[in-house]
């Protein structure tokens, strides 16, 4: 009887545990990261009695969680990459959205600006058109500032995000280290039985960490988990959490770096190594999309300012003065690393704005020479300097020390600084500085046309330049023009073969002569004083809109802007596709884990019934034992 009672009691106790574990499962059906648990039953050792082994009941050996190490780490990896892609997509689609509205992009401002240049060309002497031109130029500048400002606001916001993410990483790392300690203690206390709920909580924390940054984990034999980020940078080791830190980029005061405390003081930059999760996405977005976008916009601004100014300065304004600067001339910016110890001075000039690429460069001294690296293409050149690369002229001077470094961001400030400096409408140079004429007394039909200035340094002319036709200018029978008023020998011109037009270039002045001159006929070039009706330079300036001025003569202004829009759009689209794919992969990974670890209420309901019935049966066993005992007592009661 005692045995039966014992068997019944063991069953009741075990089933109670099973029912309460089922209840625990039901209770945690919505707890994130919870792995369903089940009770493992085991028969108690049987007793040898009367030549037979008699069973002695049941016991619970363990409460086990349904858990698959591989599926859990798959979910973690997918979480990091999905949340990374998602964050990248959100950021890039905001950048994309900035350029989406055709009314606020740069394109309409460029279009109207050049439209007004043509209006000025239509009526060069009129002040109202010129005034509108200055207004439209300001609108163009404002549009540059608007886009640039929005880009930079995103940069500021990224800084806040990065700081927030680093704070969160540090606090999660601390919590994981704390849980490590608890898990190790609890495991020891329960002599090897796993503290299921603590393990779930720790997995959940690591998963939260993976949303912010891609992690790798290594399980220790004592139950602790070590967590690494980036390229093996340890974040949690046993019971201690390392701290990530943020610091201002020494090369760019507007952006924040992530690193770890360096033994030498300061921080070691880890930004390049961190990937995955929201933090990885923020760093990646800044590196791959935002900074290039700012650079590209700056390159366009620098290019427009330089090429428009160049043509404008070849012209003559309404007061017959040489054209000045229309836009503020923009120059390259560079930053010296604060730790530079050598006495080095650097000068970076934009020698050819049409050859700029929008890339950044680093210049580092080591091994007795400078190394100039394009940070986008990683193309390097070495030497003592000066360097010429992509439209830049880089001059180094002084006594450098190994480790001295500069970062050159030629166009980073371009769009910020883009501005109109011409303030008076009459200062717009719509005219060309020179005009040409054939003298009334000429008896031949020679014409001089297309007088274009390519170099304004010799202007204004000291006096009139006269070309006098002389059949023997270059020797007997060698016809040409004798020159007065300008340096240069007689110009060879043979009416017999060249009457359809011959082009000449003299001291920065190009022109074409055609027709059949008679001996002594004069063609003249003189300063275009009072040429208020001349629109030739305005036409040349308007022509800049469609000519391919930038990127080494391959791209018009609009096309350069189009490339920026396309770059952003393509990356944003890729990020969207990536985010969609990653969401599906994550869903699948979660599904696979859930199929092992998730709680299914129907299943639990069935279990509940099963265990309840078994419990009722075990309780019946106690009754039976009691009745058996009573029967025995009754039988022996006399």
């Amino acid at each position: 009887m005692a045995d039966l009672l014992n068997v019944g009691t063991s069953a009741l106790l075990s089933l109670q545990r099973a029912i309460s574990t089922t209840g625990h499962n039901i209770a945690n059906v919505n707890t994130e990261g919870y792995s369903r648990q089940r009770v493992n039953f085991d028969t108690l050792p049987s007793q040898f009695s009367g030549g037979n082994y008699i069973g002695s009941g049941v016991s619970t050996t363990s409460v086990q969680r349904s858990y698959d190490q591989f599926l859990t780490s798959e979910v973690r990896t997918r979480t990091a990459s999905q949340s990374g892609f998602q964050a990248f997509y959100e950021l890039s689609s905001r950048l994309d959205g900035l350029l989406a509205d055709p009314a606020v992009g740069l394109a309409p401002a460029l279009d109207s600006f050049f439209g007004v240049v043509q209006d000025v060309a239509n009526n060069p002497g009129s002040l109202p058109e010129r005034q509108v031109l200055l207004g439209e130029a300001q609108v163009l500048a404002d549009r540059f500032h608007y886009l640039d400002g929005n880009f930079r606001n995103m940069g500021d916001e990224l800084n806040t995000r990065i700081e927030g993410a680093v704070g969160e990483i540090n606090s999660l790392a601390q919590s994981i280290a704390d849980l490590n300690e608890e898990v190790v203690r609890a495991t020891a206390r329960a002599t090897g039985e796993p503290p299921n709920d603590l393990l779930d909580a720790r997995d959940q924390l690591i998963n939260q960490l993976a949303e912010i940054i891609g992690v790798t984990t290594v399980e220790q034999s004592d139950g602790a988990v070590n967590v690494m980020v980036g390229k093996g940078q340890s974040l949690v080791v046993g019971f201690t959490a390392e701290q990530l830190q943020t610091a201002v980029d020494p090369y760019d005061g507007t952006q924040i770096l992530v690193g770890s405390a360096s033994p030498a003081g300061g921080i070691t930059d880890l930004s390049r190594f961190l990937s995955g999760g929201e933090l990885g996405a923020a760093l990646d977005f800044r590196e791959r999309m935002l900074n290039p976008a700012i650079n590209q916009l700056g390159m366009l601004a620098t290019g427009i300012a330089a090429t428009f100014n160049e043509q404008h300065q070849l012209g003559l304004d309404l007061n017959s003065q040489p054209g000045g600067e229309f836009f503020l001339p923009l120059n390259a910016t560079f930053v010296a690393h604060p730790n530079n110890s050598g006495l080095t001075s650097l000068a970076v000039d934009i020698s050819d704005a049409t050859a700029l690429t929008g890339d950044d460069y680093s210049l580092r001294f080591g091994g007795g020479q400078w190394t100039l690296t394009n940070l986008t293409t990683n193309v390097t050149q070495t030497g003592a300097g000066p360097f010429a690369v992509d439209g830049l002229a880089i001059n180094v001077a002084g006594a450098p020390v190994d480790g001295d470094a500069f970062v050159i961001q030629p166009t980073r400030q371009g769009a910020t600084l883009f501005d109109v400096v011409l303030s008076r409408p009459e200062d717009f140079a719509a005219a060309f500085p020179l005009r040409s004429a054939s003298e009334l007394s000429n008896t031949g039909s020679a014409q001089i046309e297309g007088v274009v200035v390519t170099d304004a340094s010799g202007l204004p002319l000291a006096g009139q330049v006269t070309l006098t036709f002389n059949p023997d200018a270059l020797g007997i029978g060698l016809p040409g023009f004798d020159l007065t008023g300008i340096a240069g020998g007689p110009l060879s011109y043979d009416p017999a073969t060249q009457s359809n037009g011959a082009a000449f270039s003299l001291g920065g002045i190009d022109f074409t002569v055609s027709g059949d001159p008679q001996s002594g006929d004069e063609l003249t070039i003189s300063n275009n004083t009072g040429g208020s009706g001349d629109n030739r330079n305005a036409l040349a300036l308007a022509g800049l809109q469609t000519s391919r001025e930038l990127a080494g003569g391959t791209s018009s202004y609009q096309e350069t802007y189009g490339r920026l829009v396309a770059d952003i759009a393509v990356q944003s689209r890729q990020a969207e596709t990536g985010a969609t794919t990653e969401s599906i992969l994550l869903e699948q990974a979660v599904g696979a884990r859930e199929s092992v670890s998730g709680v299914n209420l129907d299943e639990e309901a069935a279990n509940l019934i099963r265990f309840q019935q078994a419990y009722q049966a075990a309780a019946q066993m106690i009754t039976v034992a009691d009745q058996l005992f009573q029967t025995l007592l009754n039988a022996t009661q006399r």
């Binding site: 059906v29 919505n30 369903r36 994309d96 959205g97 350029l99 989406a100 055709p102 394109a107 309409p108 460029l110 279009d111 439209g115 043509q118 209006d119 060309a121 239509n122 009526n123 002497g125 005009r435 040409s436 004429a437 009334l440 000429n442 008896t443 008679q518 275009n528 009072g530 040429g531 208020s532 009706g533 001349d534 629109n535 308007a542 022509g543 809109q545 469609t546 609009q558 096309e559 189009g562 829009v565 396309a566 952003i568 759009a569 393509v570 944003s572 689209r573 869903e587 979660v590 859930e594 199929s595 998730g598 709680v599 299914n600 209420l601 129907d602 299943e603 309901a605 069935a606 019934i609």
Partner: protein, 400 residues
Amino acid sequence: MRLSSAQIFQQGISAILVQQSKLQHTEQQLATGRRMLTPADDPVAAVQVLSLTEDLQLIDQYQRNGSLAEGQLALEETVLADVGNMLNRVRELVVQANNASQSPESRRSIGTEIAARVDELQALANTRDASGEYLFAGFQSHTEPFSRLGNSYSYNGDNGQRMLQVAGSTQVAVRDSGFDVFMSVPTGNGTFDIEPAGTNTGTAVIGSNSANGSFVADSYSIIFSQTTPADPVTYQVVDSSAAVVASGNFLPGDNIEFAGVSVRFDGLPENGDSFALSPSVRQDMFSTLQNIVGHLEGAGSAPSELAALNNAMGQALNNIDQALGHVLNVRADVGVRLGHVESQLNINDSFNVQLQETLSEIQDLDYADAISRFNLQLTTLEAAQQAYIKMQGLSLFNFL
């Protein structure tokens, strides 16, 4: 596969969310009429839209430039027509003045009328356009191009010609400089010009003259001589180096021919009368007309004076014909440019339509497609919602 309850819930919800976001995208497309809501929807098309929009703006601008060019050319055309009419009137007056029936007094009064015409010509040459610019001043459009000092006129403009952009690679000249229109008119018959010496005393009058074959450009003198009245009249032509080019006897009405020149003389020259023949030069219309006025005012009645007047009027007629021809050439040129602008405007118009079509194909929404898509998505969303409700209603606990 085993499903967890949380997963069933989650999947149901995310299916609904996905459908909702698709529906919202279509709804946005329908609301804006744009196929692409952001460049990322179709990066290639986004760039095409940028470049097409720029092209459209340019065409708009070219159309505006073209209309302006039309207006300016039409104005110039009108002025040139007036100049032509005025020159024709002067020509009639000169023919009239050359008539033998006129007295010196009537000639003087014709001179007065021509003087008034010169003023008219000056006013025409100083025409301004709607924005106050002088049409015929070249680049110096704010300087009055033709000014008068005494009887001489001077041109204060330059040879500049304003061009307007009427298409991507087409510029059209919308002005002609005063130099080209009024100053640069060939004298004589366009090849050479003959002038009697002021000292002539005979009645020889230059008749029809023309370049006959290839004119050898040089200054020639035609000198008549008749030592005694009984001798025949002879002539001698010498070139600029005093070499004799031609010589012979002369009778009134004879053609003298040399070096590609053929010129007839009527009337009888006196001994020593001479005529200078030189290659045409360019002279301004004002001087041409002003010379006529001078000759008419100084008209006399002696035979030699009449001959001088006839010669002067003959020369003047030549010059006026040159001026008329010149103005007509310029007008024809203006007409050609006007035609060019008009055809360019038409080309631009059709190009505009074509670009609009392309742009619309790229960026505009196909409503039929979008609406049917919208309905489909709506149905899908409803189905997802109903399926979700049904799924959530299932539980074994309902039966406990």
